[in-house]
């Protein structure tokens, strides 16, 4: 299996030559490496590589995978080069941009209606959680294409609340 993994904006190609527990892999055309890997709990890997132990915590987030090793935190995007062509997730082919909820919460105000012209940075929707309000702003000037939520709606992180073209 070969995967492209993006860490810190840098792309790595990982070839997995043998799976758990006796893993062998090659990273970005480097030398072949071996690691002994067990998963005592789903999402937790204990990796033994070159005599060193790494406790690795992996979970899915809106933006991809979050990986924590020894306090180092990585956000990773993963894609299979055989199957996907890369595209930015917020921008559709016709320049339509989605405004996504940055956190789970409740919609407390809708500041624009479909058809409204908006300036870059103009507030469109206000989401509240845990006594804190967050204003979702238009990322650029354009026209509001759709508003997907009403005031009072409960939203999840990553939900598209409005689209702007």
């Amino acid at each position: 299996m070969t995967l492209d993994i993006i860490l810190y904006g840098r792309e790595h190609r990982l070839e997995l030559l043998a799976g758990v527990p006796a893993c062998r892999f090659r990273l970005s055309g480097g030398p072949e490496r071996a690691a002994h890997v067990v998963a005592p709990v789903p999402g937790i890997y204990s990796v033994l590589m070159d005599g060193l132990v790494y406790d690795v915590w992996v979970e899915e987030a809106v933006s991809g995978l979050v990986i924590v090793i020894d306090g180092y935190r990585f956000e990773a995007g993963v894609c299979d080069p055989r199957r996907y062509s890369r595209q930015s997730r917020n921008r559709g082919p016709e320049g339509i941009q989605g405004l996504r909820a940055p956190m789970p919460g409740k919609v407390v105000r809708v500041l624009a209606a479909p058809g409204d012209a908006v300036e870059a940075g103009q507030g469109v929707i206000v989401v509240e959680a845990m006594k804190m309000q967050n204003e979702l702003k238009a990322p650029r000037a354009g026209r509001v294409l759709s508003i997907a939520v009403k005031e009072g709606a409960i939203v999840a992180a990553g939900d598209v609340l409005a689209t702007i073209e």
Partner: protein, 497 residues
């Protein structure tokens, strides 16, 4: 002693109070809203009563329903915790009128120390030094006149305020008018009271506070200080006892303690309370306010003094005398606490409620964890994001810091974002280590921190884990699924950013 106690709160503080009640052999009554039926404070309680809908204005702030619950269950006392009704004088009065003991000070004391301006007047009358200020609400001309007399920078503060709401720093005359307007409107919005007063701004102050405990027979002692200078958005996130500054200048504890006791006595105070001070760069201290309740950060005092403040609160409310005098209070070692919040420090500290999918707690020597979370629990979006207080005790500050870092490395909370990793960066910062603390520390830290590059092998392990995880979720040969398209995200350089 009380035969039953109701806890008018939720979350970690309700659990904290219940633990002591159980050790004292007193049954506890929990109250809960629609979204808290599965919360730990309800699961742990002996008895429980539903008090209303999720918004706190319809449940935890409903004094009438909470009193009715106490009466229905035969509770003889109410512990208010912190927040919610804990500093509400009318509620304290209603409890006493209903023949139920309020575990805290009298309604009179809460009123005397309740608003910041009333507290300033009480403290000034008792001879406590205060930051030069107007002592009462002023209009724009009054603010301008104060600045002319004392010079900029000044601070605008809401009379009814707290938690940094309605607060504005004004560095120059031409900023005053708009800052005043914003402060008043935020104060109106947050506290239904637009009144604003003015203080001289103390630059880069430390926040040091004195814990008090007194009985209803006129005895009062202080239990030393806590340093709470590490704050974000005017909320404390790391607290320690003793203060590194006071540890170097022990006479400060004596002076600040004596002034705190004088101010509290002037308000007829009893039970637990905290006098907060700002300390300037010349080690002059100024009375800031008094919190007429148990503080969030009380565990660091407990660890160093060996006392259980909640037990003392309950005994005092039941009429007991303070079982020790000032000379009996001793301080041993160093305690440090961090507040673990459901928030994302890598994205502007946005709240992060949701379901906990995984939880590994730190264990081992010197660890105290006051929390309200369990694996599989959904953190509600309606309340404060405090999940747990992780406190450690060790022989000195250096060892306490290392121990806290060690504990944070063991602490894994999955499914939601937390500030656990962020604390580790602060604790490793050289300025934190050398105790160069002040209330703007985090702002300056965010500006100066550099991205740390992980060792290459750690990066390789991260890539391997990402591949193994992806493979486990997407068996070889499976067809392209919609879910995996969510992984087409741009990777972000969020490492210890």
């Amino acid at each position: 002693m009380f035969r039953k106690v109701l806890i008018a709160n939720r979350g970690e503080i309700a659990v904290r109070v219940m633990r002591t009640l159980r050790e004292m052999g007193i049954p506890s009554v929990a109250v809960f809203s629609d979204v808290d039926r599965t919360s730990l404070h309800v699961r742990m309680a002996d008895e429980a009563e539903y008090v209303g809908a999720a918004p706190s204005s319809e449940s935890y702030l409903r004094a009438d329903r909470i009193l009715a619950a106490a009466q229905k269950h035969g509770a003889e006392a109410i512990h208010p915790g912190y927040g919610f009704l804990s500093e509400n004088a009318d509620f304290a009065e209603a409890c006493e009128n209903a023949g139920i003991a309020f575990i805290g000070p009298s309604a009179h004391s809460i009123r005397a120390m309740g608003s910041k301006t009333a507290a300033r007047q009480t403290a000034t009358a008792a001879g406590a030094p205060v930051v030069p200020g107007t002592d009462h609400a002023v209009g724009l001309p009054g603010a301008r006149a104060f600045a002319a007399a004392h010079g900029y920078p000044i601070l605008l503060k809401a009379v009814a305020g707290g938690g940094g709401k309605g607060m504005r720093t004004v560095a120059r005359e031409d900023e005053l008018e708009s800052a005043f307007r914003n402060a008043a409107s935020e104060a109106q919005h947050s506290f239904k009271n637009p009144d604003v007063y003015v203080e001289k701004l103390i630059e880069r102050p430390r926040h040091i506070e004195i814990q008090l405990i007194g009985d209803r027979h006129g005895n009062m002692v202080h239990l030393g200080e806590r340093e709470c200078s590490i704050q974000r958005r005017h909320q404390k996130v790391i607290e320690e006892c003793p203060s590194p500054l006071v540890a170097l200048h022990p006479q400060m504890r004596k002076e600040m303690g004596a002034v705190a006791i004088r101010a509290a006595r002037a308000a007829g105070y009893y039970n637990a309370g905290t006098v907060e001070y700002l300390v300037d760069q010349d080690r002059r201290f100024y009375f800031l306010e008094m919190n007429t309740r148990l503080q969030v950060e009380h565990p660091v005092t407990e660890l160093v003094t060996g006392l259980d403040l909640v037990r003392l609160q309950i005994e005092i409310a039941a009429g007991a005398r303070l079982p020790f005098a000032q000379k009996d209070v001793t301080y041993r070692g160093w305690a440090m606490e961090c507040r673990v919040y459901a928030e994302d420090p890598y994205h502007d500290f946005l709240p992060s409620p949701g379901k906990l999918t995984r939880l590994t707690r730190p264990l081992g020597p010197g660890i105290r964890l006051d929390g309200c979370v369990y694996d599989g629990w959904t953190v509600p979006m309606e309340y404060d994001p405090l999940l747990a207080k992780l406190a450690v005790w060790a022989g000195n500050r250096e060892e306490a810091t290392e121990r806290l870092i060690r504990a944070l490395r063991e602490y894994d909370v999955g499914g939601i974002r937390t500030n656990i990793g962020f604390f580790r960066q602060i604790l490793e910062d050289p300025e934190f280590r050398s105790a160069q603390l002040h209330t703007a520390f985090i702002d300056e830290f965010l500006a100066r921190r550099k991205t740390l590059q992980p060792p290459a092998d750690v990066e390789a392990v991260a890539a391997l884990a990402a591949a193994l995880y992806t493979q486990s979720r997407r068996p070889e040969g499976a067809s392209r699924s919609v879910r995996t398209s969510a992984w087409l995200a741009e990777g972000r350089g969020d490492l210890l950013r």
